[in-house]
Symmetry: C2
Subunit: 421 residues, 2 copies
């Protein structure tokens, strides 16, 4: 079937909620490491996909998947080593009290469960998120995901705060952290005023959907303080920055010395296999588990856990955090030197293998250049994406085995594309 | 690690919401076809698990999983044949207008999406479910799942109706279908009265969680009429009866000639791999997809779709619907002949490989015998479960390749257990 037919059949069979990347969508048929291959045999350097965290089709992960799938796949109502081993391995990476893990299949499910637990613990319902946050697709989580328009709108129990942004945000000075945290406090106060007792601050430690702005280093700590002072819990959504993506730490909140009450994990956890988790303390979970029966049919099954354990093994053995740190620095330096020659590039930021490039034209968001760069890079065999409220931030977020040569290829292609723009 | 240590570490690490089957929980380490093996090497005849639909670790399904996982695992923002092929295959099994498929990872996600779509289409919020229904674990779906107690309670936008039950229900005569459908109409009227515009009747075509009672054959059609008359949609939850489990049809609603507006699929779809789907018409989905952006990271990925396609292939090639029909009849006949000798067995019902046995003592639910039978069967190497509001219904629901010899073993063991009870 040719591409145009595929596209029209897709629209008919999957409905209009499905979107494709690129003006000329890609039919990808094979993946390996940081490379994707289309149906014509053309090769693309993947600088976008974070789900295949340790690389597309990593042999070790595929082997763990196949071996366990050949042997047994049941559920958590029988005993099995894998779910305990995974729970143990994850807690070892978390702040001490966070040693209770519940498994689900998607980041949406993990966040949905986290908010249920936060509400049970606090007796509240009010949730604070950032202005352009995205946390998932269930009804309850869509209500706290302003980045994705929905017919329901945000809930009356939801308040948004501006993403802390030292580059273009409302506060930029040395006391910016306190300023942004004050907005969190005011959001909770406003919820209370309208009868919505505070339950949680739900925040992506990378602020990915907000365009990955650089926050004041003290923001998360101060926001967590403001949250607890309001009687609510701080929920760290680690679906984007988790599993060492930032190069600086295993979890995004660690970079800022913040201490969440609940942590949610998703996308990279199974390298594309559907597994996610919600991690918290016994103290936080108890009011929920005392009064609520919860079962997730596929969550924590032996196959999913085997896959997630293999991802953790590969991360360690291939020293991918250190790789992310080094290659991320190389990317940022390279991008900054391109920035010196081109004033459309207003800001280069991020950490490890999560880099954001903000484009402005006469001080205003340059959406047109952003889109053209994404499309032109794709034509040149390099896949990146765009994000942020204004749609003027390039998102560069390759699989973690992205190395110095890959970074060179990306930078060369990028420099050429920018020059000819 | 010994079993007691595993159990206590589990309680500590996974929290109290996790439950184990059986007084002496099983540590299952291997599965094959209809057999499960524990850590000591003991073998169990699996008469309970419906998720490994075409048999534990079916080689064809495992092979499809591994081949695709070695080749590519991405998402629906690139084109890929598998998602279109699966969508096409599924629509071929559905009533004509139901040709739009959206993919997710769990039955909860499929139901959560179905209710969002029903609300967008109807402009309503009110949901009617059966008294002891279970539809999933997201916040929104927990609110329509009375079978699982939760701290939040049911929502004010929810009404329950008694499960239609010709054996012990409120209506049992020839006009029972009309009687139960009238309760649905009244439930929607009550929702309207309290300002909750009707949105959906969400109903498991097998009524599994209600104890799989035998409904009047015209109930679903009449209930669907009452639902549409109230301006709401009929959502068929096929997570339990779907994929030919009942032996009578591919989908549970087909057995009753009913015509849903939305169908949700889950558990058996990937033989244990996390994949689910929501199927509807263009007309129903449009108000949702026009105004709502929806993306499910793992939903419809090439690996999940390859697995689901393999399950459909095996179902056809091994003629498992026909097998379910034949072996199901054998099981029911055998159970009915045991019933003739034992008056605790009050009712034997179900269809295909979903059989329910209701136990009464002096006309009252016999929970004690139900629990003892489940435990004693497990000691004798046969795994079954229990369900229903009163907990007095045995659930016999083996993988679909369950054959005549397996049925004999089940019946022999059951007869012995009942006799010595």
């Amino acid at each position: 079937m040719n591409r145009d037919d595929m596209i029209s059949e897709r629209e008919r069979r999957l409905g209009k909620a499905y979107r494709l990347f690129y003006e000329e969508p890609l039919e990808i048929v094979r993946g390996e490491g940081v490379w994707l291959y289309d149906a014509k045999g053309d090769r693309y350097l993947d600088c976008y996909n974070n789900v295949p965290h340790v690389g597309h089709c990593h042999p070790r992960v595929v082997s763990a998947l196949c071996e366990q799938a050949k042997t047994l796949n049941t559920h958590t109502r029988y005993l099995h080593d894998n779910v305990l081993n995974l729970s143990r391995r994850l807690s070892q990476t978390m702040p001490e009290a966070l040693d209770v893990t519940m498994f689900a299949c998607t980041g949406s499910e993990a966040n949905d469960l986290a908010l249920r637990i936060a509400r049970a613990k606090t007796g509240g319902t009010g949730i604070v998120v950032t202005e352009h946050a995205y946390h998932g697709n269930s009804r309850d989580i869509a209500a706290v995901s302003p980045a994705y328009p929905n017919f329901e709108g945000l809930g009356p129990h939801v308040r948004t705060v501006p993403a802390p942004d030292l580059f273009r945000g409302v506060y930029r000075g040395s006391d910016a952290g306190a300023g942004y945290a004050r907005l969190v406090r005011e959001a909770f106060a406003d919820l209370s005023k309208y009868g919505h007792k505070p339950a949680a601050l739900l925040i992506d430690s990378m602020l990915a959907s907000d365009g990955s702005p650089t926050p004041p280093v003290d923001f998360l700590q101060l926001a967590a303080e403001a949250t607890r002072a309001a009687g609510a819990l701080y929920v760290a959504d680690e679906v984007q920055p988790g599993f060492g993506r930032t190069g600086a730490a295993m979890w995004g909140f660690e970079r800022y010395g913040a201490r969440p009450d609940i942590v949610t994990l998703g996308k990279p956890m199974g390298n594309g296999h559907p597994i996610s988790a919600m991690i918290t303390s016994t103290e936080v979970i108890e009011p929920f588990s005392e009064n609520t029966k919860y079962f997730n049919t596929f969550g924590g099954n032996p196959v999913s856990c085997a896959v997630a354990l293999a991802v953790l093994d590969v991360l360690e053995e291939e020293q991918l955090l250190e790789n992310a740190r080094q290659v991320g620095e190389q990317l940022k330096l390279g991008l900054k030197s391109i920035q010196d020659r081109d004033d459309r590039i207003a800001d280069v930021r991020g950490s490890g293998l999560f880099i954001a490039v903000e484009l402005l034209h006469e001080g205003e968001p340059d959406v047109q250049s952003t889109v053209r760069i994404v499309e032109e890079m794709r034509r040149q065999g390099v896949l990146i994406g765009a994000a942020s409220r204004d749609g003027n931030v390039l998102k560069i977020r390759p699989p973690m085995p992205f190395n110095a040569q890959h970074a060179e290829q990306f930078l060369d292609t990028f420099a050429g594309v920018i020059q000819r723009l």
